[in-house]
């Protein structure tokens, strides 16, 4: 099929074209308690084509993309490519050059769906559960992905890699209540130790959630993040170094600019890294065929480089960008205990913590937090935090110690100062 499609594209009259051929063999298992609810298998191929058409004066380069079914006949493929080409001719984006390259040997990471599935099942079956805390249900997704990217400019690269996901729901209960906590893990294949460690920690949080008091109406409080919610904070920094954000003037983080005008906290370093252990983003090439490499984006709080798609990077005059896979954040100066001094709210469960990539607005309902006050620790729930990272970033501090969440390696503890908090205690309570 792919050879036929490449022939069609070569004969289409397109100024340029790109083809992504994604083949996936996946196994899925769904459990209620530890009984199998359903098993699923999939074997699919998705072929996506992007065609480019340059204007006659060379000032504009239009593109249009779409999926070509793997069962398409030659006539159907010609029709679909023809439609895309016609659409592309109406799209007038400022011209930019496409990346060129050559055919490379496929890069392969070990992927064994059967083995990975068995390891996930055994791991989730062997957790230390108690009458007070256990697994309600879980879903296991594990697959082997082969991704080939071919372009009219000579690029022909293939990555073979594992990709997995586990969704788990933890229950905790006492005589009066039962609560649940939700987890979604992405990884390459099964990391038994990390999965067990995290779910055991989640069960502990669940037991604490049974004992919560209403979150006090503090108005403002220092907040400590020690779970994957902190990813939202660091992704805000990451997105502000994206050439698309710079081109759209949503970000003004040009190279050489300090990310905070008057920082009183830690000056962070943020870099893309080619590989992280068991990350699901260890593909050797990005979605546009650019080789992924280690690159420092922010160093000691100063922007050093940008990342992004070919189109926006070219618009910003940057030739050597690529799309980010793995990211490492460092530069914290304190140990974990040092960030847990004085009064603070350590929030470990949100309904859905969000930091707006557009303007840094922070929002999240508190499902479980530990209120550290006057040397005492009280589990609390309810209420929400808000505010803006633009206000919180200058004083923000992070730990030297790091923790990995799939394709992100970030400080294990992060502290924001003076965060706006709406509690659930009423005045006078």
């Amino acid at each position: 099929m792919l050879d036929m499609l490449l022939d069609v594209l070569k004969a289409s009259g397109a100024s340029a074209w790109e083809v992504t051929d994604l083949q996936e063999t996946g196994w899925e298992f769904y459990f209620i308690r530890h009984r199998l609810d359903q098993n699923r298998a999939k074997k699919v191929e998705h072929i996506t084509v992007k065609v480019y058409q340059k204007s006659e004066d060379g000032q504009f380069l239009g593109s249009a993309s779409g999926e070509i079914p793997p069962t398409a006949s030659r006539a159907e493929a010609e029709k679909l490519v023809g439609d895309l080409l016609l659409s592309a001719s109406f799209v007038r984006n400022p011209a930019y050059s496409l990346r060129s390259g050559s055919r490379e040997e496929p890069r392969r990471s070990a992927a064994d769906v059967r083995d990975s599935a068995a390891r996930f099942i055994r791991t989730l079956n062997s957790l230390l559960e108690t009458p007070e805390s256990d697994l309600n249900s879980y879903e296991i997704f594990t697959s082997e992905v082969t991704r080939r990217f071919v372009t009219s400019e000579g690029i022909d690269v293939t990555s073979v890699y594992p990709s997995s996901m586990v969704e788990a729901v933890v229950n905790a209960r006492d005589a009066e209540h039962e609560i649940e906590l939700y987890r979604l893990y992405h990884s390459g294949s099964c990391d038994e130790n990390q999965l067990s460690r995290d779910l055991t920690e989640t069960m502990r949080y669940g037991l604490d959630k049974l004992k919560t008091a209403p979150t006090p109406a503090l108005g403002q409080v220092d907040v400590v993040f020690s779970t994957d919610a902190a990813l939202e904070i660091y992704d805000w920094f990451l997105m502000r170094t994206n050439t698309a954000f710079l081109f759209q003037r949503i970000s003004d983080w040009t190279v050489g600019k300090a990310v905070c005008d008057a920082p009183t906290g830690d000056r962070l370093t943020l870099k893309t890294v080619r590989e992280l252990p068991n990350s699901s983003s260890n593909a050797a090439y990005d979605n546009e065929g650019a080789p992924v490499r280690d690159l420092t984006l922010i160093e000691d709080g100063v922007v050093k480089a940008h990342w992004g798609s070919r189109q926006f990077s070219q618009y910003m005059g940057e030739e050597d960008c690529f799309l980010v896979g793995n990211v490492e954040v460092s530069g914290g100066t304190a140990d974990e205990d040092g960030l847990r001094q004085g009064d603070f709210m350590e929030i470990v469960e949100f309904s859905d913590f969000q930091v707006s990539a557009l303007n840094g607005d922070v929002a999240g309902e508190i499902r479980l937090a530990y209120w550290h006050h006057g040397g005492e620790v009280t589990p609390v729930s309810g209420g929400s935090i808000s505010g803006s990272m633009a206000d919180y970033a200058p004083a923000m501090r992070a730990s030297r110690a790091q923790r990995q969440y799939n394709d992100r390696l970030i400080p294990s503890v992060t502290r924001l100062y003076g965060v706006k908090l709406a509690g659930v205690e009423q005045d006078g309570e």
């Binding site: 699923r40 999926e67 249900s137 706006k420």
Partner: protein, 477 residues
Amino acid sequence: MKAPFSSYLAGIAPGLKRLVELLDQRYDYVSVLATDSVGFGVRISQRQKSVTRETMTTERGCVVRVAKDGLYSEAAFNRFDPDRPEETAEALTAELDSQLAVLKETGTAVYETGLLPDEPQTLFVESETGRLPEEEDIQQLIARLSALSDEGVQKGKDLLDCIGSAQSTHISKLFLTKNRDLRQSYVYSEGGVMCLGMREGRTEGSHAGVSGRCGPELFDDMSAQLEEALRVTDELLGSDRIEPGEYDIITAPDVTGLIAHEAFGHGVEMDMFVKHRALGADYIGQRVGSDRVTMHEGALCAENVTSYAFDDEGTLAGDVTEIERGILKTGICDALSALRLGTAPTGNGKRENFEHKVYTRMTNTLFDSGDDSLEDMIASIGHGYLLQGMHSGMEDPKHWGIQCIVERGYEIVDGKLTGRVVAPVVMTGYVPDLLGSVSMLSSDRCVFGNGGCGKGHKEWVKVADGGPYLKAKARLG
């Protein structure tokens, strides 16, 4: 015009029927869902223009569901050769057998489920549409959206960009068992205008959307969306932060819809009852809101982006009264969960696409209207906010906690809008408290179908929700 059923699906139907026959020799139950959905997405801004033939729901593929000895299994594939169904039957049987071997090795027990019924049934539905996405004049559409974007940046104050977007999808689905042959085809569309502005270093953006079970004719005039996005972006750029606290609120129909969706949409998805993950299971027949609250759910409740004729398990679409005058009556249910719970499916078994499992999912989730006027509602408030603009929400069916991130709030003091705008607003609370505080509802009602809905943090599907203006009490931050 009628949205024509996919000729591709019609062509492979005989091969799929043969596949069902072959698998029926080995399994206790066999069904196949085949999909062929095409569409386009166009996005035009001052800084970038893009055209794609993919939307959230374009797809072509098949999924087989089989049952043996109480275990349901599925296999998804998209390289089906209708002339060689034997090869497909052999390949997917071998793959599922390999899985069973792993399950045996790991000592896995099965959650046994009864057999789905397979009463004879045929259905062929081609819904009305004005135009078809596959025949839309993309050049004209780009020109219209470009003019909209140009007008936006000319009119807007402190605007970075103005983005016009349009997506339209022509869905075709075929559901087959030994005794059933269901076919449907319909078109839905969604679009809108987004303005991005910056003032004194502050960046804000607002989106005004439009959606419907109709074709790309929906995009012929989006001037109202442009005016709304321009107005709201200007308001957001001049907005304040809210002082956290509990307030009297009026929710605009989009925020009312968000509450419906998060409160008793997810809260009564009955696959969560099977897992004992929803408090709603214990409250059927009990009061969960004030007697002003009535709520409906179903593909037949409204004509919007997810108003289909049958769901992804071949159950015909329904209209369920979930809450009647404050009393929780029932939930919504997919077919397998219905078997396990001993109830009837409601036509809410949906997949993200053919590669994904069925879950109980929402379609149209709506509060019924009341008989109050918005003016009277505003006049009744001493200090509170009119909340408008939906950002996101999150449910907690186990505890009935709710989080809604609302774009903006208009301050009300002594029964009048003051002109002060606060943004964003995080609304949180306990669902029965929130619905129990509902005291007034306006007589109009709107339905919104832009965006998507996840289950947990995955499984994205189209949904629509809405209702009237609603007065209640809530905690805002």
